[in-house]
Amino acid sequence: MTETTHALRPHAEDAFASELKALAAADDRPRPERWRLSPWAVATYLLGGTLPDGTVVSPKYVGPRRIVEVAVSTLATDRALLLLGVPGTAKTWVSEHLAAAVSGDSTLLVQGTAGTAEESIRYGWDYARLLAHGPSREALVPSPVMRAMAEGLTARVEELTRIPADVQDTLITVLSEKTLPIPELGEETQAVRGFNLIATANNRDRGVNELSSALRRRFNTVVLPLPATAEAEVDIVSRRVDQLGRSLDLPSVPEGLHEIRRVVTVFRELREGVTADGRTKVKSPSGTLSTAEAISVVTGGLALAAHFGDGVLRSSDVAAGILGAVVRDPAADQTVWQEYLEAVVREREGWKDFYRACREVSA
């Protein structure tokens, strides 16, 4: 424990150890085998609440209750859970806390990259031992998934769609047969009760490896939504921008909130295909326009304003960034953007400067 208190970012089960303990104490509902908490308590851990003994459980995920309930119920059945969402919707965060609450261990993690090999999902070998003693259990290096199977814990796979398709499919046996054969030893590792798997993936990212339908069938899918209201999103963006700005040593720009609101409004309207007042429909561009992109647009604008402008975030500072985020496909998106400018922005009260700035960079 002493090590983890100095860690830059402690694991969920350590950071919230006291809450988990209080929940376990208060929890009298039936628990699935090897679960630390009952499904109800896991949901409470994520959504927050007050226990009978007065302990306040902080909310880990702010969003629809339904989503957490579906996720927890999925883990309670023997189906694996796939969390989908655009960047910045707290997929990883939810998966970590789910694993911490269910198994008390969020460290059985496989990070998906283009270079993730089969060994990271099945097992590898300690080659020195392999050469010296031949294949044996001792020479085997189990993957996090294999360990989770053997011990009945929750394994996590991050960015599942970044893993090459053939490596992804290694999971099929694990998820359907609940076993991992080791042909070299003529053995297998069977999953014990309590084992399950949480995967996360980005659902609007192109150019990654789509899940095969065989694998997809083995997951229950939960889509984590973008912030429900403009206020919530403005809040997220401004807080995050503030943090980023501090770490980049950008001078703080107090009047920025107005522009942030505008950026968020533009992003939300284009994303949802309808204006904030719900009166006009607009076309959606091909880009994702996620909250994360809004953050980077504002941060870029801040840098512009601080180094080349007058230190105040203005529409001209964000206009170029917005254009870059919206217009991904030069032909189709350009039309979408022009239409949006002419049909929505031009008419809007108090947006004249923004309209001009956008016209300038679009021309």
Binding site: P39, W40, A43, R66, E69, V70, V72, S73, T74, A76, T77, R79, L82, L84, N203, S213, R216, R217, N220, T221, V222, V223, G273, T280, K281, V282, K283, A331, A332, Q334, T335, Q338, E339, E342, A343, R346, E347, E349, K352
Partner: protein, 812 residues
């Protein structure tokens, strides 16, 4: 159990329905009283008719005013329906014992806050904006959603064993309601006191009448809310006093077919259930409702080409059950099944889920009513209008000429147009509508076919008057239309039929479709009818402000979308685009003209200083100049197809938007040796199509064409020949001959400074030098007669624009 059996139910609750049946079986009453208008006693027997298929509704309406009406919808799983069918099967008399519609329909109007027609239709009235007893009970029980609470405590209680007390649920619910009413009184439902007084009176009557059958003769099915009031002891005299002096109207009652969609809360009829399809399923499923439901969902998804395996269904059922356990509910309800379906069957996507919501949770079920049911009010309304407009329904075909300036005729036109919207094709517009809109004349071919009566009866679902039915139908059609052109056509029909209430919805749909339609061709096609409507709407005195706004928006979108759409086109696509260009050009010109003529019809915001400052001095000018900008850009851009470029140049030239010699410069560019001959020929086609007088007048252009043609290499000449032939073959013979003569005379443009050939001293072949004003003047009287104007505009001889002449004639 003594006294009358009081079965308090929730309208449209399948659990209630099942319980009612069990209770009636056990009690075997000799007479059944059901909540509903007593006027319906005469038609209740029809409920047992073989052709009657729920959902249906009892419709009561005031005889002289069909617009004043109320509905009592009944679905297969409605407890009232179950009770009525139970009684009819056993020959037990059924009586409705609510306040007569004769009173309630008039009362509704006198401002108890009942919102207009049909809003009062819900028998219990508990869907109103007043105290919702279920919500209070649910809240007391710690539920945030009354629907869910009701599901948990009533609907999901299994049928129970054979030895369970069939009366127990009603007793419990009655007690709960009694407690509620003790606290809340009438809970804001003031009318209920009167209704309940009437119910008690009828109940007493029935008990007296069937007294010989003992105490167990009468059973009552009514909203649970009323149960405490019925068991209350009050004197008949007091009840009569309450009912005294109520206003009264002559009322008729009939059955009309109903739909699940209208039962659902969204349609605003206040019947008050969000998921009729789900309830219907719960009621109809013999056992394992969840499994059967998931199987139906899977079937639907498979029909829509989603792969759903039985393994999926198993997982979905398990998931729903686990969710119910996590949420602490006794059984999986609709919310759990929806969540499970989303996670397991739909891969987290809401798109297929919307389909399930629409087709299964709400459902497409439509009821049927036997032909022997009394006439629907729509038929009466039509008959009334036919009488007052002196239009007889005759089987013989006859022609009808209408002058829309006359009040009577324009009312007739509106009626016929509205009927057409309702698919009652009594009148057939003799001339095409496009020609008809421009004038105040309309001619119809009238012929009443027998099946039109059936169509009218069918149209009865839409409303009780021709106007309200047409409005409802138009609104629904607007919501369901798939293409932009459909909605534009609908908008035009709404204008013709004068449906001011439907127009905003249609306009909204139109604006939405236009915003999402990426094909400029569609937009360009949608524009002309819309502009026509704006232009000629005032003939009928309709308000076209909203329309003008949408048309302007559409024009803007065309302006934005056109340049990218014109790049990289093949020959066919380019030819099509040329057509779009022409229609859009005409429409935008007409729109701008209209807006300039009556500025008050332009949108009010456009006059606000915010927008007015830069471009919007006159909205019309801004639009037109924007459009011309687009044309100019297209004409100058190399990537644009030749035929489109040529056309743009021509349109600009015709509008007088090109500077001296600019057309010649552009033509020279297009025909310069660097351009592929086929491309140049296409340019010529676009530029010269539809009228060759230009070549006769501007010989510089002619000499450019001539020069280019003589330089086309022999091997490509055969390629360009068809294009050129197509272009020139369309000219009138006279023009063709003149052009030929001009070419034979050799290049005339050389050495001539003046660009205007008409001023040339030696003139054209066959013409004298200069203008013989004496002979020219001789034409003027005839011309004046033709145009019907005192003052003749100069230069109007050249192929006068019919439409504008027409419009001016009208304006004069």
């Amino acid at each position: 159990m003594t006294g009358p059996l009081l079965l308090g139910v929730r309208h449209h609750g399948p659990g209630s329905a099942r319980a009612v049946r069990a209770a009636l079986d056990a009690y075997a009453p000799k007479v059944l009283l059901v909540e509903g208008p007593p006027e319906a006693d005469g038609v209740v027997a029809l409920a047992g008719d073989e052709e009657m298929r729920p959902p249906v509704a009892l419709l009561a309406h005031v005889v002289d005013e069909p617009g004043k009406a109320a509905f009592w919808p009944l679905a297969e799983f409605s407890p009232e329906w179950v009770a009525i069918r139970w009684a009819l099967e056993r020959g037990v008399p059924v009586r409705f014992f609510d306040l007569p519609a004769a009173h309630s329909l008039v009362l509704g109007e006198e401002g108890e806050g009942e919102g207009g027609e049909a809003a009062e239709g819900e028998p219990g009235g508990d869907a109103e904006l007043r105290l919702d007893p279920l919500a209070v009970l649910a809240e007391t029980a710690g539920y945030d959603d009354p629907e869910r609470w009701w599901e948990d405590v009533v609907e999901h209680r299994g049928a129970g064993g054979p030895d369970t007390d069939p009366y127990a649920p009603f007793a419990a619910l009655g007690e709960a309601m009694a407690a509620l009413r003790e606290v809340h009184g009438h809970g804001g439902h003031r009318r209920d006191l009167v209704r309940e007084a009437h119910m008690r009176l009828r109940l007493r009557e029935a008990r007296k009448e069937f007294a010989e059958h003992g105490e167990q003769a009468v059973a009552v099915v009514c909203g649970a809310w009323h149960v405490p009031a019925l068991s209350e002891s009050s004197t008949a005299a007091a009840d009569r006093a309450l009912l005294k002096g109520l206003p009264k109207a002559k009322v008729e009652v009939t059955w009309v077919p109903w739909t699940h969609r209208r039962l659902s809360r969204r349609s605003g009829y206040g019947a008050g259930i969000a998921s009729p399809g789900w309830y219907g399923h719960l009621f109809a499923a013999p056992d394992r409702p969840l499994t059967r439901w998931m199987t139906r969902v899977a079937g639907l998804l498979r029909d829509e080409d989603h792969t759903v395996s039985p393994a999926h269904v198993i997982e979905a059922v398990r998931m729903a059950e686990t969710l119910a356990a996590v949420r602490g509910r006794p059984l999986a309800g609709l919310a759990e099944t929806v969540d499970a379906i989303r996670a397991v069957l739909c891969e987290g996507s809401d798109v297929p889920l919307a389909l399930i919501q629409d087709r299964l949770v709400v459902g497409d079920e439509m009821g049927e009513v036997p032909g022997s049911a009394p006439a629907v009010p729509l038929q009466r309304d039509l008959a009334r209008q036919q009488k007052s407009l002196r239009l007889k329904a005759e089987a013989r075909e006859r022609e009808l000429e209408l002058d829309l300036r006359k009040e009577m005729d324009s009312s007739r036109s509106r009626l016929l147009h509205r009927l057409r919207l309702l698919a009652v094709e009594w009148g057939d517009p003799a001339r095409s509508r496009t020609a008809g809109t421009g004038t105040f004349r309309e001619s119809w071919l009238l012929r009443w076919e027998p099946e039109l009566s059936v169509r009218t009866a069918e149209a009865g679902v839409w409303g009780t008057t021709v106007l309200s039915a047409a409005t409802a139908k138009a609104e629904t059609e607007a919501a369901g239309a798939t293409t932009l052109a459909e909605v534009t056509a609908l908008a035009e029909r709404c204008l013709l039929a004068e449906l001011p209430d439907a127009l905003p919805r249609v306009m909204r749909a139109l604006a939405d479709r236009a915003a999402l339609d990426a094909d400029v061709g569609h937009l360009a096609q949608a524009l002309p009818p819309l502009v026509r409507s704006v232009r000629y709407g005032d003939v009928r005195g309709t308000d076209t402000v909203a329309l003008a706004e949408v048309a302007a928006g559409l024009a803007e979108r065309v302006c934005v979308g056109l340049p990218p759409a014109c790049a990289g086109l093949d020959a066919d696509g380019a030819a099509q685009m040329r057509g779009h260009l022409d229609t859009a050009h005409q429409a935008i010109g007409l729109l701008a003209q209209t807006r300039a003529e009556n500025p008050e019809s332009a949108s009010p915001e456009s006059a606000s200083p915010e927008r007015g400052e830069s471009a919007e001095g006159g909205g019309a000018d801004a639009l037109l100049s924007r459009w011309r900008g687009v044309l100019r850009r297209l004409a100058a851009r190399d990537r644009t197809a030749g035929v489109v470029r040529g056309r743009c140049t021509r349109l600009l030239l015709d509008d007088g938007q090109l500077a001296e010699g600019e057309a010649a410069r552009l033509m020279g560019l297009a025909l310069s040796p660097g351009t592929a001959p086929a491309e140049a020929a296409a340019w010529i086609e676009g530029f010269l199509a539809g009228g060759g007088m230009l070549l006769v007048h501007d010989q510089r252009l002619l000499s450019l064409v001539d020069g280019w043609l003589s330089q086309v290499p022999a091997e490509s000449f055969t390629d360009v020949l068809p294009l050129l032939r197509r272009t020139f073959a369309a000219y009138e013979p006279g023009v063709r001959r003149t052009v030929g003569e001009l070419v034979r005379r050799g290049p005339a443009g050389e050495g001539r400074a003046g660009p205007v050939p008409a001023a040339a001293p030696d003139g054209m072949p066959g013409f004298g030098p200069g203008l013989d004003s004496g002979r020219a003047d001789a034409v003027l009287p005839t011309l004046r007669l033709l145009l019907g104007r005192r003052r003749v505009m100069a230069g109007s001889a050249a192929g006068g624009d019919e439409q504008s002449a027409n419009a001016k004639g009208r304006a004069g």
